[in-house]
Symmetry: D2
Subunit: 447 residues, 4 copies
């Protein structure tokens, strides 16, 4: 089989450096030989009882191996802090490989939400904040949460956020609820990046919010319960419903300054969506690999026929191939657009990737599930869990429908020019009709 670097789509091959190709192949090899085999062991080490919310020993082994191979923090695109200097497109290709395994992103310290939090701290953090939190995160010693979503508001619109952050003397006091705080189940999670309101009555609704750093062991934080995703608890990472009751943190924990939460939050987005999308593409590729394997399993020939001899299954393979490849090009094009400009100039391309990829991946994974029959919906393949993971992407960071509406409005802005163009053409057409003395086609002869 050609390696990952040999399979880079022809259209973008010129954009990938020799160094990135080598790293890409190394990532693929690491995922194939270390991470995918470790996934079931990781799952089993969690167990169902007392050990479920702990740190599975095999992760330590994987992290050590990854680091020794130089596969560490590739996400830090072109940053200082030991950033690897890969372009978004190059790192995106690596994310596809990481996305095939449950353990690979964490093993190489490229796992969300740490990556976004590290970027945030690197970009907006004070020196003290960097020293205390960014350093250990870059070393993979601790983990973090991004604490934004709230249960009782439509918080996909961040202006609705209600958690109160009140200045009292040299401290800020936090009160409110948050949920879907992913990673809060991990015993190594030491820090929360929290979005709340410092000035809920500010005339400019984009200046009411602030972002503040909260140690996860601060008194007053209660984990009300853990949320499941289609029956999966995602241990030990987990998704917490948190209650903040008079949680006090030093004033210097505010990021960038009071009232700048919205600005910081927006700076955090962008490339992350690309990388998340590429992970979903990796999941889809992995699902297709399972589909191929099952469709040719010698002991599974219902009514005497191999599934891969059936036209319908062959169509699933073909459609999956087309859909995965089209989605990958959409994401890589968005990455190229960021690399050629920035996340703001690439908004349309990023939105396309955000919308298209999870819907595509869900279709491909579901075909793999269906091909496996009962085996596909249980714990015997990674497929059912993969599907549940990808299903969240259609909701996280704003539902499809919100992004479609925004993208539609952007497209609609071209309407005036489209109308003008058609109008000018109509006028020219009229002139041509006159010039040639051509008659418009009339009614039926009888009339």
């Amino acid at each position: 089989m050609p390696t990952a670097s040999e399979r880079i789509p022809a259209a973008v091959r010129p954009l990938v450096s020799e160094r990135a190709r080598k790293t890409l192949d190394l990532v693929e090899k690491f995922v194939n030989e270390e991470c995918l085999p470790a996934d079931p062991v990781y799952h089993a080490q969690l167990g169902t009882g007392a050990t479920r919310w702990t740190y599975p020993p095999i992760m330590t082994e994987l992290k050590t191996k990854a680091r020794s191979l130089g596969l560490w923090n590739q996400f830090l695109a072109g940053h200082e802090h030991g950033g690897a200097g890969f372009t978004n497109l190059e790192y995106g290709l690596m994310c596809e490989q990481l996305g095939r395994s449950r353990t690979a992103s964490e093993a190489t310290n490229n796992a969300a939400p740490d990556t976004g939090n590290m970027e945030l701290l690197a970009k907006y953090g004070s020196e003290a904040q960097k020293k205390r939190w960014l350093g250990p995160l870059l070393e993979g010693e601790i983990r973090s949460c991004y604490v934004m979503t709230e249960p009782d508001t439509a918080s996909s619109d961040a202006t609705n956020v209600q958690l109160s952050i009140k200045r009292e003397g040299n401290e800020y006091v936090l009160n409110g609820q948050k949920w879907w705080i992913s990673g809060a189940g991990d015993p190594r999670c030491k820090v929360y990046i929290v979005l709340g309101k410092t000035d809920p009555n500010h005339a400019d609704k984009y200046k009411q919010q602030s972002i503040i750093i909260v140690p996860s062991d601060s008194p007053g934080i209660e984990v009300k319960r853990m949320l499941s995703v289609y029956g999966y608890d995602d241990a030990p990472h987990g998704h917490a419903h948190l209650i903040f009751r008079n949680v006090r943190v030093p004033a210097e924990n505010i990021v960038l300054g009071e009232g700048r939460g919205f600005e910081v939050m927006q700076g955090r987005m962008g490339p992350g969506r690309i990388h998340h999308a590429m992970r979903s593409i990796g999941a889809a590729e992995e699902a297709l690999r399972w589909l191929l394997t099952r469709a040719n399993a010698p002991h599974k020939q219902p009514f005497g026929k191999q599934l891969s001899e059936q036209g319908v299954i062959l169509q699933w393979m073909a459609k999956s191939r087309i859909e995965i490849d089209a989605a990958r090009l959409i994401v890589l094009n968005a990455a190229a657009a960021i690399d050629a400009g920035n996340a703001k100039t690439a908004l349309v391309e990023i939105a396309q990737a955000k919308i298209l990829v999870p819907n595509m991946a869900l279709d491909v994974i579901d075909r793999a599930v269906q091909t496996h029959g009962a085996e596909g919906i249980c714990q015997d393949t990674p497929l059912a869990y993969m599907w549940a993971q990808v299903r969240t992407v259609r909701i996280a960071d704003g539902p499809d429908e919100a992004h479609l509406e925004q993208l539609g409005k952007k497209e609609n802005k071209k309407a005036a020019e489209a109308r003008d163009l058609i109008q000018r053409q109509v006028e020219k057409t009229d002139a041509l009709f006159k010039k040639y003395g051509t008659k418009e086609l009339g009614p039926c002869p009888r009339l």
Copy 2:
């Protein structure tokens, strides 16, 4: 509005030369300012009666303008014969612009089936054949047909072709039927490139066929009738059902040699599919432009609301934007794959484009039709005709289903490697379970 060259997707921008960008913008301008306004006049000049199968005068004007602008024969990628030397990707981008208009491809001498026929003659023709037929075709003085499909066989599988080509002395004698001979209605169509069987009993079923050049005015050719496409006769081009009765042509009209028809036919394919696909993308873009215009038409506000204020219509805009852009990347990637290798090494990419594009374009055009209501299904917009044209692409050159099955079989060839990979991972997983002494998750506690 940014020009066509400014809208080239970020991912492939590095692959387009400065010269190609300039030509691309010139093509766009020509299509916008000359061809689209001329389309309704072209249609009207055909009329409904005696003039329907003639050469509309406005085409002469367009061809003269195109040639004076240097927009001529761009399809001749890197060939001698005055070829412009554009890559497939570069010419593909131009095809997208040409595909927005009914007249643009012919006006610039880039129209099918002439382009494929010219490539065939340039590649396989004898000097005499080139002189007599290729020259006038390159000059746009005459037009041609590609005569392959037959009514009574499943001739998408070319080995089924039955038209008989029999050697008699210094001549070949043709007998049989052909249909869907596109372009046969045009009075300027002077030559047929005909596929038939010279040796129907040859043991190798790929050596039974030959391709032969037949002047369109040869005695014995009867146009039995013209075929319609969803009610459109496609005049003056048209699609003919032909009968060959003892049609005699000189022996030197055979192309490349007896029994080499299959080989010649296969050489003719490839890039043409890319260019055709790009034209359909142009059609989809044009349809979206119409959709935008109608959704904002001030006099069309059912129940007091502009269509563009409705969420469903905004979703149509957004989805159309995503689907068009994804399909374009798939085609450009196929073009890049041909440019980096050849049509054979890019088979998978070409098949993806062949399958994906018309299905996408039909969806987009149908949304534009639906947005227009009754206006969309009649002659008042280019949409209904456009839809019918693109609908043929799902059938021409083999139906979707045949291409999907082939592509599925190609994907299925990866099954062995997929299985081996999973198998090796399972073994490694077992080893890890042992190493760590981890237990697989067991049954429920009760049991």
Copy 3:
């Protein structure tokens, strides 16, 4: 093959009388043995030239036969005027048979728009109006148009209609434009039922409109042009774009009274939609029959395999069967709802049929087209024309999207009750938790 009456779905069989079953089988036999064979002759008798907008002689033969068999005006459900007294469900089953052929509805005098116009005249017409127009229509001596849609407004919302109907002495004077006036091409079309505004400034926007009867040969009516539907002109019926310039009609031609146009218009709808939907179901069944035939055609075996041996084609057959049968039940259920109440109490059921059926039929017909390949898109099967006909149904009488939005709003009205129900259940759940002392599931053990 079981007859039409034997194929009535089990669920509704008890609703069909013995008499209706017999008539239904007679209709099927008439369509099979007379109408379907006559369709291509009808088409050919129209020709392409001077005879195109005339009355094909074979229609006279069909009408005579139909009448002699007692197959005439079955649509007149339970009315006086010689109405056959069938229920909507019974007549609906007959419409399915009629819808399989291009000629059958007219041959049995059950063709739109005459049926709706006859119902309108029977229900709202004065005795004089009935005598002059309803009589000859019931006899099939003349035909009629329903003149409502306008080119320059969003007239799917009838309050937007702008054609002016002004009283002057003992006459009304009409000025304005109308289009999509179906049937206006037929030389036997003698009367127009016209919707316009008599009082455009009336405070109640539903009282501004009136309906008036206009002889088709009234001076001042110009047929500006005929509109095509995907390339089809639908001759000799046709769809006209009409201009009314000071068209004068006697005051007694007003229907029911000035300002009652909206009321009359609404009374005209309802059952007609059911019958139209059943005709589309007949078209889908006929398309499936063609699909089955082609998939087993002995001379069409691409790559050596009968299409009906391919899993994908078998799935098309199965899905088509399911989708047709589900859509038929939806329509029959709407008919049963009208029969059990009236068109107003069955609004939801009628809307369901209006939306579901054409979308289903387009899918089925398109599968049949694709199965036929090039043969499917031209004049050699009824499929392409059928598709174009059904495509109009997604637009006529309001686009899908308008009906979906209305239906959505109706469903949404149940929200309050749904919320209350869920709310009461939540309260009961809380009580049960207390009663049992059960604890809600808490956080992960670590926390």
Copy 4:
């Protein structure tokens, strides 16, 4: 809100007796007022630890209430053994109500797989078998499993089953593996109905199988593990992977006789599929109810707009309404077909229901999930669990694709008649052409 009996579709209303309507409304009331409120308590009483695979006390309360209301064993259609004598259609309507709640089917002793097993015992069991097992099952004292599926074969094709049932003296000895043995986790599950091979070499491959009754506490049965469904363990019911090692049962436990397993198995199917499908329809209705509630939740207005004001959400409501109603009619029609004949004469109708319903329900439920956002995928609504449950239906009892292929083959059997009909029509058409002297439409005038 109208009651369940008032909402019976008009088309089938005449088929539902007064008695059934009353019971139906009682079932709805019981589900609304008792079961739906009990569902979260049932879930919580299971806990996450030692109590997970036990019998939640609230079920006892529900069963007592159900029985006191006379809501017990309604499934026993027209049988002796205290059967309620409802038709399949009538009981189907009740199943829809039961399917809205997690607890309702068991609370009324209408839960799978017991219902099918009770029918099997009632139909094929010996008197002793009935006394020992059927009695307690009818009383709801014990539960049962249906043990058919195997992990290492394509056992959707029952001829592939491999578990060995060997006669040894007065006993049978069972060896082999089974999985997806639903209900095996329940402590009250006392009996397994097992399909295996008594004569694996029998020439008739439908006579190799036997069905035998095995007490669940028989020595030699190991629960290897419990299978999860998208992360759900379905406790306390559960899905077991069982190993049979020399499990011995008395010879009289064989059902109907050796070699008659296939026959018994086929007799078990049929109506069960209808009732299962109706439960999924109930789930879809419940999901739509949640969707309506959320779309109008006052505290959830992203970007200042209620979801129910958005066109896309309104379309979801409308489409869901149409799709649910169409699917319900398909199932009720199948039930009516069984009631009018039997499960064999209604094979096509049953297959339609089997295929259509889960696909429809998954779409509707997924729309409800998406409308809820993050709330929809976790434990805070019944939606995610409901989705996972319904997802299994596309696989259980044979995957969609197998049923589609079978249904396609049945439809394809009509091809010969379709061809004959078309052929006869072509001949008649030819005769008509001659009779009228009509010419077929020829080529373009030029030619």
